[in-house]
Amino acid sequence: MLIQIARFEFRYLLRNSLLWLTFAFTFAMVFFSMNIQDWELGSEGGLVRNAAYATLRNTLMVSLMFMFVTTSFVANAVIRDDETGYGPIIRSTPITKREYIFGRFLGAFAVAAVCMLAVPLGTLLGSAMPWADPANLGPTRITDHLYAYFVIGLPNLLAHSAIFFALATITRSMMATYLGVISLVAAFFSLDGALDRPHLQTAIAVAEPFAARAVKDAVRYWTIPERNTLLPDLTGALLYNRLLWLGVSLLCLGIAYAVYRFADRGMSKRERKQQKLAQRQPVDAPFAAAATAVLPAPRHGSRWRGAVWRGRPASSPPRRC
């Protein structure tokens, strides 16, 4: 059941144009950086365009950029039922909370993971184009892409998907979730500079959510040829970083599961409002009050003059109730 819910979610999100726009944009960005002279993503002289380090860096950058897109997917997965008003129908079926929460998350996360494939695909196809300058390219190494995707890209996606999935579950608000994303980005960039002290180096490399520091530190003393062909070992700060954020991801998913109320939270806002409106009218005399009420009459033609003269519109529109 969990898998089937995930599959529906996956296929549902595949119809979202945001996904395809993001995929196309990311793919194009990487693709053309392989074969157009003046289109370079990083600015390290001497590196070939498909260098091992360049692939890691591109994956990192894209995973950071994706935060906005994946958040919209995972938050949508958990907020959609309340937002559309379809929730009561779903919640009266015999599915369990576990199937629902994790199925929805898995589907949305899988979509983001597919979208992330734009980086390896862009690199592989872009470097194979006939107009690409061979001097800018090294040999194709699939291991680079596997490493970048599974060690950097996917865990990064998982971490922020899980964090913002939990936030969306708690707040039940798209707006609040996006504020969370913006806060994280702001915190990331300001703290990254502010905490740049030698004695904190390892701590930051472990704690920083995208592993950008850990990768940078690992290749710090590498020569250009090394950066072109070698991958950092998955040890030390980089390993601890990945484990830490995998743990945080699982924790956040656990929180989302614990917080989500499958039994209802009472009537929706819209229902309550409708009920209030309905209660105002006695049943047998729906128009009795309106017939005797005197409504303000409109005035035509002198609106502008009146507005200037009195400092406000001459005829204020009647209020809708």
């Binding site: 119809r15 129908i89 039994a263």
Partner: protein, 292 residues
Amino acid sequence: MLELRDVSHVYPKGTRALDHVSLSIPRGMYGLLGPNGAGKSTLMRTIATLQTPSEGTVLFGDIDVIREPEKLRRTLGYLPQDFGVYPRVSAYDMLDHMAVLKGIASPADRKTTVETLLQQVNLWTVRKKNLSGFSGGMRQRFGIAQALIGNPELIIVDEPTAGLDPEERHRFLNLLAEIGENVVVILSTHIVEDVSDLCHRMAVMTDGRVQLEGSPQTLIQSTRGRIWMKVVDRAELARVREQYEVLSTRLFAGRTVVHVLSDRDPGNGFTSVDAGLQDVYFSTLAQSRRAA
């Protein structure tokens, strides 16, 4: 079949939506009539396991609905009042997914279920269209289709005819009547005809309380001889309202037909009329207003 005992619900802000509701609902169509805000939806949601009442018990057969909601959900079809749909999903795909959620595991069974239901609710020709583009009536028919998946024993439909045009309403009620012969169907509405056309038994709710319960015929009989009618001018209406317990007014050829409630002959040009369910309903509302 469905037993509610002393069910009360108080919302966090102190609104008492249900006040010691006890009902015994047999197989067949059961109508729940009441003005908006009477607590019908709260009661429906409580029975549909979407909301836990503050106190009371709900039993369906031998399922304790409050303790084992997941057991009831296996045999429940619920059409909520005023639901929305996902954008970018066709009727077929959504119904197929609903069948998955309701435990129709085999693809072949699911195909049969979905195709049969789409034909039954007359949505077959638009099955590939997006739900979000459906009219109110089409959406409501989709709603009933999903409620019927898996042959539920208990079907709850909350104000299903609101927003339907007369023809759609007619078709919808026919469909419900067909299904309602062998299972428990609870239909809430504020439209008296919905109940009088369909239901063997009914209850009238106001202010979270059950004011009246029984079969429409007996209830109509109980008000026989107490409903009086007179045709008056509009100007006269205010005076009539002051003097009598006015149940309903309607216009006929520019003049007003007034129904009043009175145990004795009010004289004054009033004549006795055969009560309809509408009069029963309005007299119940009038009594509960007087009591308040």
